[in-house]
């Protein structure tokens, strides 16, 4: 496979002036929302989805991808300077990053985080370029039973990796699947669970669900917990690490990159675990573990590399199998469908300029983030001082405009309010909404393939066991569930989420 030739072609696409501009916009918006706590990439991408109508598919995805990995960069800035994770993926960075900032080494922490992220992002992008074509060729041999089994693995992994009770996560997955059945039946056109509302004939709007569950619920929650933002007031100087720092950081960055790349590919949002895993590994390997939590530079370098690598490689299942591994990727499916592209292994052969253009744009975007962001840190800090009472009406207004303009349908906006209520209730009752969203996206795909599989086998469920690939995948899914029941694993899992 001629990866180099394809990459050159991809750069041809990614470096067109329009796409460079879109990549820059995406990266900047991503950093902005990454810096601001209380608004995550899910809500932002859902909000901006309607704006991509006027773009072509490649441009739209380049921009949305930029938002996602830009948010990983931005999240660490807030974590280091304010001791508050801008994104969930930067929770770990607060531990040592903020300590470094208190010791007057904020610049160094920010620099190491950015450079580590840059390195990890580039490596992980190359992983996509190498693994992508191979996986998509494997996936072309997949029939309906294999796809079903694969989605079962994805859904099980999503429940296992969700924080909180596993049983509740399973319940959320089932509810998501149920919500996914609303709308016209694919085969017969029968109206299912539409409550005789004509606007529901096409199903529940994905943007409404995502914005309601994540964006609106988050706003209500932020309003009830008054915030305290203590930005470190010192001047930020000395962003570039010196030779001794680099020597200290090289190994953690490499290990973080490997860990993040592997965990990112896993279905069910493995990327979220990557920084935790990296931090644990670094602490175990360190000569003096007591330095951790008191401003150890490795504790910033490793997890920051890991979260960026994971963010990058989580594109692999989406681009090669057409199966989103997490909620953000589920939104990418939405963006692709709006553009008339059906995600799956055929994307690489039918739209090579889309795949390779996106891969090349990730390299471009990561480079831009380092070059642009380090000088802009001062500006981001000033933005952090914008109080939430001014921020959230703006978020609300943009969400409403965004959702309304998808179909010019007021019902879609009402659904945002409904799912905002649902999302808030889920938080209050300690249910994790992420598996619900993923199951909602996978549901219709799953049902379609399940029905086809049963049609092929004439109603015989043995078809899932007789095919080797589908059997293997189902065994993996069952194994994951069983492992979760082991007390020791359960304990570590709880530690990972609360450590």
């Amino acid at each position: 496979m001629d990866i180099l030739g394809n990459l050159v072609m991809g750069f041809g696409v990614a470096l067109s002036p329009v796409n460079v501009a879109l990549c820059l916009v995406g990266a900047l918006v991503g950093t902005l929302i990454g810096v601001l706590p209380g608004i995550g990439p899910i809500a932002t991408i859902a909000m901006l989805l309607p704006l991509t109508f006027s773009l072509n598919a490649t441009g739209a995805l380049i921009m949305l991808a930029g938002i996602y990995y830009g948010a990983q960069y931005g999240g660490s800035t807030t974590a280091i300077l304010v001791n508050m994770p801008g994104e969930t993926s930067s929770v770990v960075t607060t531990l040592d990053g903020h300590q470094m900032a208190r010791q007057g080494k904020a610049g160094k922490a920010l620099g190491v985080a950015a450079l580590g992220s840059f390195f990890a992002g580039c490596v992980a992008t190359l992983v996509i370029a190498v693994l992508g074509p191979i996986l998509s060729r494997v996936a072309q041999a997949f029939g309906p039973p294999e796809y079903c089994a694969l989605m079962v693995v994805g859904l099980v992994a999503a429940t296992v990796l969700a924080s909180g009770s596993v049983f509740k996560a399973i319940t959320m997955t089932l509810v998501g699947l149920l919500l996914g059945t609303v709308g016209s039946d694919v085969e017969t056109g029968a109206q299912r669970l539409t409550f005789e509302i004509p606007e529901l004939a096409d199903g529940i709007g994905f943007t409404s669900l995502a914005i309601g569950l994540f964006g609106i619920a988050e706003i209500i929650r932020n309003l009830e917990a008054p915030e305290v933002r203590g930005v470190v007031g010192t001047r930020i100087a000395g962003l570039l690490p010196n030779w001794a720092d680099i020597k200290q950081c090289i190994a953690p960055v490499l290990r973080g990159t490997v860990l993040g790349s592997i965990l990112g590919i896993l279905p069910g949002n493995g990327a979220v675990l990557a920084p935790y895993a990296s931090y644990t590994v670094e602490k175990k390997l360190a000569k003096d573990p007591s330095r951790f939590g008191r401003g150890a530079i490795e504790g910033v370098a490793g997890p920051e590399s890991a979260n960026n690598a994971g963010a990058q490689t989580s594109f692999i299942p989406l681009l090669t199998l057409g199966i989103p591994p997490n909620a953000v990727m589920a939104l990418m499916v939405g963006a692709m469908t709006i553009q008339g592209i059906i995600p799956g292994p055929q994307v690489m052969t039918k739209n090579p300029e889309l795949f390779w253009g996106m891969v090349a744009s990730m390299l471009v975007g990561n480079a831009m983030l380092v070059i642009i962001n380090l000088p802009l840190i001062g500006l981001w800090v000033r933005l952090l001082k914008v109080p939430y009472r001014l921020l959230f009406p703006a978020i609300l207004l943009f969400c409403c405009i965004g959702v309304f303009s998808v179909n010019s349908s007021y019902v879609d906006v009402l659904l945002v309010a409904l799912f905002g209520l649902v999302g808030y209730a889920l938080v209050k009752l300690e249910f994790e909404p992420a598996p619900l969203l993923l199951a909602f996206v996978l549901g219709p795909l799953f049902e379609e393939n399940l029905r086809r599989a049963f049609l092929i086998s004439r109603g015989d469920p043995m078809i899932f066991v007789e095919r080797p690939i589908s059997l293997t995948l189902l065994v993996v899914a069952a194994g994951l569930l069983l492992v979760m029941l082991l007390p020791s694993v359960r304990h570590t899992r709880e530690e990972a989420f609360h450590g």
Partner: protein, 149 residues
């Protein structure tokens, strides 16, 4: 009467059962089909049953295992935020973006514990002006600006 040991799980379970019942009620006319050729009702009904079973299990758990008490809900803040969205939904077609936007910001702002008159007014006007320029003009979204066409 058994003792309720985890109110959070009890409420969660009851809501799940209600959701399952609602789905089953509305799916009752959809043909089931057989496993070989599933009808449109097969998948929703199987799922609704599973959700219902999960709800029952959760209710059972709430009676045997100790768990968290219910959190305090910020009804007023939640109501205001949701009301601002509902207002937008019903007003946008008739009143246009400018009036609707001002209304949404006005309703939502009050939900903040520390809002101030002057600041909110200045910021709200600037925000709506920005949105009115950005969305219909800059990005070409089909949005009406004023109550009159």
């Amino acid at each position: 009467m058994p003792e309720i040991r985890s109110p959070k799980n009890l409420l969660g379970g009851v809501l799940l059962i209600a959701l399952a019942a609602l789905a089953l009620w509305f799916a009752q006319d959809l043909p089931m089909g057989r496993a070989m050729r599933m009808g449109p009702g097969y998948f929703p009904r199987v799922l609704a049953c599973m959700v219902g079973i999960c709800g029952i299990v959760l209710v059972a758990i709430s009676l045997v295992a100790d768990g968290a008490k219910l959190d305090r809900w910020s009804w007023a803040r939640m109501g205001l935020v949701l009301a601002s969205i509902v207002f937008f939904a019903f007003a946008i077609r008739a009143l246009g973006l400018v009036v609707t936007g001002v209304g949404l910001v006005a309703i939502a702002t009050v939900a903040a514990p520390d809002w101030r008159w002057r600041e909110a007014t200045i910021f709200g006007v600037a925000l709506v002006a920005f949105a009115a320029v950005l969305f219909p003009k800059g990005l070409g979204l089909p949005l009406q600006l004023w109550p009159w066409p």
